[in-house]
Structures are given as C-alpha cells and as structure tokens.
Subunit: 212 residues, 4 copies
DNA sequence: CATGAATGAGCGTTCATTCAT
DNA sequence: TATGAATGAACGCTCATTCAT
C-alpha cells in the first residue's frame, strides 16, 4: 500500500512498522505543493515549510527531490491503480465498471483535488518520468484494458475495439475533462456540477457521440 | 528598444515586413528542444545552439524565455486551430469532420512529431501556462464543440451530449493515445501502425465502447 | 555538562578512570576514516558507522569534529614523539638514533599504515591545524633536533648544520618517501621493499648525496 | 606553458590566443585563496570576490571547482617542473643543480609564497588528487632523479643511492623546511634568513649529516 | 543585427550540531 | 550512557538575463 522504499518494514510485528509522522507530513505536503506548482516549481523549501518541518528533514527521509516526488507519484498512482484493480475484480457489467472508474476519480477530485492533479502531472517531457512511473502508467492502462477485454468477451462491448487503445482513449478523455475543470474551462465548482460533468463524460466514453 | 512584436510576419499585407531568417531558425529550433526537454529542461543555450545562432540573438528577437516559448506554442496551436476551423467550416458530416481532425493530427505526427509533442506540453502546472495559451486551448475546444453542436442540430450526434465536455473528452482521448505512441505504450512506429491506431481512436470516440 | 576532557585515561595513576570502550572504538575508527578521506572527507557519520556506534555518541565523547580529530592527531603524534624521546634518550650514536627513527616509523607503517598516514595529514592549510597540533609538530622537530645537537657535541655530526633545519629536512624527507609509498610512486608493497626503501632513505639522510 | 585545457588555442597566429583577462584574474586569485585556505576552505565566492569578478564568471571559464583548482595546481606545477627541467638540462655539477633547485624555489617563495604554498597543498587524502596531479608529481620526482642519475654517472654522487628515493627525500626535505617557514617554526621572515635557511637545507641534502 | 562575456539570484544538497527520549 | 530524529547554515552549480562591443 504505502510506498516506503526505504525505512525498513518490520517483518514480523504489525504495530512496529509505524511510518514516522513527519515523513508522512512531508509526503502529504509534497502532494499539494507538487500539484500546485509542478515538478520544477516545487521547491524543497516549500515542501518543508508546508509540512512544518525543518529543511534538512526532507533529506533525512528522502534521498533527493526526485525520490521525494517519485514517492508522491507512486503513492497516488498506487491508490488509483488499486482502485482500478478493485473495480475490475468486482461485480457488474463492463459499463458499470467504467462508470465506477469515473465515479472513483471524480469523488476523489471533489475531496482531494490535489491527489488528482498530481496524477495529471505524471505526463512530462521525455514521455513519462524516469523509472517506475512509466510502468505505473502502463499498469493503469492495462487494468482498464482488462475491463474492456472482459466486456468484449461477455458481448457487452464492441468486439473490434483494440482494448489498449480504447483504454488509453478513455483515460485520456477523463483526464482532459478533469483538467478542464481544474482550469475552469469546464464547470466543476459545486458538487452537483462535478456530478453532471462525470455523467456526461461517462456517456460519451461508453456510448460514443454517434446518435443511435 | 525594438519590441519583438513587430517581427510578426504581416499575415495579409505586402511582403515588406519579412520575418528575419534567424528569428525563424530560433523558433524552429525551439519547437524541437521544447518538445524534447519540456519547459524547464529547455535552456536558451540549447535553443541557440540548435538554431546555429548566437546566444544573445535569442534575446534580440524575444523578450525572454517565456515569450519565446509562448510564441512556439502559439504558432503550433495556430496551425492546429486553423486546421480545426477549416475542417469545421468544410463539407461533410460531423463524424467525417471528427475523423478529419484525427486524420490531420496523426498525419502531422507522422512527419513532424515535435509539433504534436509541443501541443501535448501545453498542459502544465498552474492550469495552463501564462497568458494566451489558455485562450488558445479554449478556442480549440470551442471549435470542436462547434462541430459537435452542428452534428447535433443536424441530427447526426447524440443530442444530450454537452458539446464542450464531449469535445474535451474527444481531444483528451486523442491526446493520450498520441502520448501513448510517443512513449511507446501504443505501437506507432510504422506509418501503417499509426493509421491503424488512428482508426481505432476515431471509432472509439465516435462510436463509443458499447456494443451497438 | 560532562567535559570530554575527563575521559582521558589517567596516565600514571590507578586504573580507576577507565576509558570507555566505545570512546576507544570511536577514536580507533576515526584514525582510519581520517587517514582514508582526510579532514573534510571524514564525516562524523562515517566515523560512527565504522565504530559501530550511534551517531550521537560521538558528540557525547567529543565536543565536536575538530576536537575528535585533534584527539586522533594528538594520540598518534604522542606515540610518535614518545618513540622519538625514547630513542633520543637511549644508547647509541646519533646516526644509530636517526636510523632508529626511520626503523620505528617504517615498522609502524608496515603494520598500521593509517597511523602514519594520519601524521602525514597534519600539514594542512593555515599552517598546521588549530591548537595543540602545531606544538606537537614543533615538539617532534625539537626532539630530533636534540639528537642532532647531541651528535654534534659528540663530534659525530656536522657541526655547522642548524639542528632545527636539519631535523626538519630529515623528517620531511622521511615523510615524502612514505607518501611516495602510500601513493605507489615508491615501491613499498612487500616487507622487503619497505626495508630497502628505509635503508636508502636513512643513507641519504645521514650520508648525503655527495660522493665521499 | 599556460594550461588552458579549454579556450581554444589559435593554431596559426601568435597574437590571437590571448587568454581572457578575467580568466587570468580568476586563476590568479585562486592561487592565493587556495594557498590560504586549502581546497575545502576555498570557496568559489572567495575566489570571485578576490578576482573582482562576478560569481558566475568562474563557471564561465571553469567547469567546476575541481577543474579550477586543478588548473591552479597544473599551472604552478608546470612552472616548477619547467624550472626543474631547465636546471637539469643546464650546465654545472649535480650539486650545483640541486642547489639551483633550492635557489629557484626559495626565490619564488620570497616573492610569491602562495605559489609555493599551493605546491605544498598538492599532497592530500587519497594520495594525490585526481588525475593529472599525480603524474605531475611523478614528473617532478623524475626530473630530480635524472639529475641524481647524471651526477652518479659523472662520479659526483653516491653511486649506491636509489635516484628516485633520493629525489623524493630531497624534495621532501625542501618541502618541510618550507612548510616550517610558512608556519614560523623555521625563521624565514627576512630575505637574509630565507637565504640562510636555503643554504643550510642544501648542505644537509647534499652533504648529509655525518661528519666528513 | 549579431556576439558572447558578464552578472547574480535561486535552488538542491550536505553535514556538523543539537535535542528529546 | 546511548540513540537517531531534527535543525539550518553553508556552499556548489545553473541559467535566465543584461550589456558592451
């Protein structure tokens, strides 16, 4: 669940592996600063200040800025892909599952937009940022593609659609709609608005634009 | 002294205010460097070197880095939105026009991927980058939304779909599929592959996923 | 609170004020780390790790980094100057005593090169490092100068030679020859090689280069 | 002569390869700061300030601190080894040449002690600092060893002495005597004192300590 | 127009030192 | 004693921007 590349997971006990409170604070603060200012605009000093923590402590818990932000991304992506996996493994038709994905993401957006905005930042020059991020992205696409495949084999979805391309398109549509809300191009201030946008986005993704 | 604004080539008029060759070289080089390295990775020195131009000359033609890159974005977006406008104003059904959009973008991608990758970079922290870029993005969405609206009034497209949301979703899907090709997640090496991906993406966008 | 000074083992007295085992471990580790990496390359964390001791404990026994390394130097220099004093006070001609100095140092070098390398580090910007080190260095030169003086009064050595300068020259020659071995410029891998180098160095120091 | 790893030597012309004045100023200032404070105590800001130059300019001419100080060392060593080579190739007995070496170094010390002090700093943890420095040191020893060899073949010097060891010992003696003057252990304030010390050091090096 | 040397603010990182337990 | 988390000053390096020629 929690990333913790470092900081020793206790093998045996349950209550031992407690993540240091300040480490969590740093990670938490980093999500917001990162979401607000992006990779380069996000300064270590900002994160430390937002976490109410001394500058140097960031480097006590993370080797450097890259590792810190990679942990942030990994954590948020883990939450997202775990949700995708749970939805995929759950009951319901493929259409229900796709609607469920939108439901999950838009819900999180309502309460913790930074978490979503961080996901949107993943895409960066050089394709995706070094290392694990690309795989994570690939994994997310794969999980959605699995749902599509399942729907096709059940006769619910278009059999001709390439699952990977369909999944990518679907996620991209969702992403830009969210981005549109983030920048105010698509109305998403009130909860009701967000819900309406979500329903529209789901309808377009599943039903397509063509009348019929 | 001389504002760089005056260097804009006069669109309609006589060929008097010819854009200096080196200014063009800088802009051209900037597209590639920007596409390759992103906003922060793109250094003025890189651009100057790629343009085979002296360092200081960049500052002769552009007030600063932001203005340079804004020009780059504006230019590429202008090409794109002009194409959208032309397609929208042209003949054919709404579906044809949407397919035409994909056709245009994927064609450009085949010959000048940097031009497309620059568009993909537009989305950045702080919503969209300063100034005109946001409007440009809004304009592109608006043009696609117009096509959707037209299709709805002609009875070709789903009347319940919100044109703006539909347009955003459509562009987002296209964008992420392109990104997928850029990073190699979606196969797009050969021309045939690119064409196949394009067709798939169009089908999903227009026809949706639901079996019909 | 507790000044680390009190940790010095009582030289003459009863065995009451036993030096804590961990203090010794730190000092021991510091010799090696210091010898390997020099003053600035030697981090407190390195010493603590090498001593298998907690970070903070170093600061329990030593006020700060400077004091720690001063203790290291003082200890190694004490060993050296004690040997010089013993040799000086012992029997034999001045030439024998000088040979004895080389014998002692080269022997230590064979079994504990770090101890010697630490001595070689003493010389540092700002003349010699703060505090006692300079005096220690002065004392070593003085002890050798005493041997020279003694030899002169016995009619064994050149009466015109300035004892201090001669002593300094002699130690400098020895030092650089050792440095040469440390860096591999002078062969000093096997015991036999080291012995040969020692003999050569002694001969040059005592007999000079001039044929006769 | 001048190092200039970078900054393009003009192949043809003579007056073209002018070293930029500010580059020289930086190098010059670096000699002094480096000599005063040593490698780690020498901050780029100090050098820039001493050179009356903007901080960033140091990085215009040198890739980083290491390269700057390597250039400093290389330059000073080049001066020294060139002198050694000239002395070695010149006329006179081996003893004259050795005396000439001392003469050169002590003369420089009188007018530009920093130049000598920088040479003394070369010896550093890890044997000698990275790269070229070790070779330079080796070259200096080699040049002196050549003089020794020549003297031996002419029947002027002890035939049994190992030239490399003798050369190392000789340079080491000279070095520590200089160090002694630098730190005030050996009197070297007035010119007369310096000359006296030099004569003593030469006598000890050539004649040895044994009464003959 | 064109050049590239010169400037300096900004930021990532290190590491000696302190402190609560 | 002993631990290691917490602190923050210091410094190397980058790079956008300016300026003299």
């Amino acid at each position: 669940m929690t990333s913790s590349r470092q900081h020793h997971a206790a093998p045996g006990g349950a209550s031992d592996d407690i993540e240091p409170e300040k480490r969590r604070a740093i990670l938490h603060a980093a999500v917001h600063v990162f979401a607000d200012k992006g990779y380069h605009g996000c300064r270590i000093a900002d994160v430390a200040r937002a976490a109410h923590v001394a500058y140097g402590l960031v480097y006590h818990y993370f080797r450097n800025k890259d590792e810190l932000l990679e942990n942030v991304l990994a954590e948020q992506w883990a939450i997202f892909t775990n949700a995708l996996a749970a939805i995929g493994a759950g009951p319901g038709s493929a259409a229900d599952k796709i609607a469920g994905i939108f439901g999950f993401v838009f819900d999180v957006y309502k309460t913790a937009p930074s978490a979503i905005r961080v996901l949107l930042l993943t895409r960066t020059p050089q394709g995706l940022r070094a290392g694990s991020t690309r795989e994570t992205f690939e994994r997310a696409v794969g999980l959605v593609a699995d749902i599509v495949r399942q729907g096709q084999s059940r006769g619910e979805l278009q059999p001709e659609a390439d699952p990977t391309i369909a999944a990518t398109s679907l996620l991209g549509g969702m992403e830009l709609v969210l981005s549109g809300m983030v920048i105010g191009l698509v109305p998403g201030t009130s909860e009701a608005e967000v819900d309406r946008v979500r329903r529209q986005a789901v309808d377009v993704a599943i039903g397509g634009l063509r009348k019929g």
